[in-house]
Symmetry: C2
């Protein structure tokens, strides 16, 4: 695997920036203002589409180079066949966390890679990774304490698995970093095929 | 749950110190020199016994107080019904990682809590948590690169799931922090019963 290409992450979220380092390749991040709407009701198709829109937004902002790989990523939480994005306010976050308490939900992260293939043609590869997440029963008082930290803001499903909320996560089935928002293991496998 | 009691961690491993913070309680760590041998061949019994030995070593070093809870923890990796501890040297780590490549293994962490119960009696509670871990196929060159980082030293199974090795971990079934070496979610649930 040629690790000399440069990764351009179409997001400057601190979580994704931490995780992209694990790939051991040079990288840079660009904040993009992509349209995050989708007509898809299937979560896998939805996150792949939004990840692709983010990657294309970064691509059009940047002088393209055959030596760069642009990466867009988007994460949603799915419970009861409904896609949950970021909470609109604290009351919405409380309602979401109460509904997830004691239950299983799914986290989907879509990833889109824009790159120049071995034949020199501009190409795009998109995929989605799914992880099941099991919450313990959470008291209303614990939910209120968590929301008071402010960490739920800007998080799909109103929680972050890597912060103090982790005491309520009994287990997962799948890739942990996918729940954080960036499935590094799957990305590494896919990069190995194209590099 | 009374979060005013103080946790005394019978280990100053940086990973366990980071994770114990997630419980949101005051804590302190003590390095102990406990006997880590066990006659048990059952991994659950083995990690519970060693965790208990660590907790007792901390208990005997310390002026006991009804306001403190002593926590010992021990982690092993199990593959092919064999318990794998820390690697003896780099060659041993390479052999271990090659054998785990492309396969499923199990991680067991045993935890022992020494505390004063609600009736004022000194008590001990021990439990073990198990997580299944699935590795992707890993090339010998990737294994050698990982060993060159030195991060495998002092790690049961010769890897840390939270560092650059994570690109080789396809997924898990169970608690992620249990693989890191400290199952905070289960510990939180057990503390809620005794506090």
């Amino acid at each position: 695997m040629n690790k000399n290409k440069k990764l351009i992450l179409a997001s400057c979220s601190p979580r994704r920036r931490e995780l992209i380092k694990l790939l051991g390749m040079p990288f840079e991040c660009i904040s993009v203002d992509a349209d995050e709407s989708t007509a898809h009701t299937n979560p896998e198709a939805a996150v792949k589409e939004i990840a692709s829109k983010k990657a294309h937004a970064a691509f059009s902002e940047r002088e393209s180079s055959a030596n760069e790989i642009i990466i867009g990523a988007d994460t949603v939480v799915v419970y009861n066949e409904k896609m949950l994005g970021k909470p609109s306010d604290d009351a919405d976050a409380e309602k979401t966390l109460l509904s997830l308490s004691g239950k299983k939900h799914f986290v989907y992260t879509g990833v889109s890679l824009i790159y120049t293939n071995k034949e020199g043609a501009l190409s795009e590869l998109s995929f989605a990774e799914k992880t099941d997440v099991y919450f313990a029963e959470i008291s209303l008082s614990d939910i209120k304490k968590y929301i008071a930290t402010g960490n739920h803001k800007d998080k799909a499903g109103s929680y972050a698995i890597q912060d103090e909320f982790s005491v309520h996560v009994k287990g997962i089935n799948g890739d942990y970093n996918n729940v954080v928002g960036f499935p590094v293991a799957r990305i590494y496998q896919e990069l190995a095929k194209i590099l």
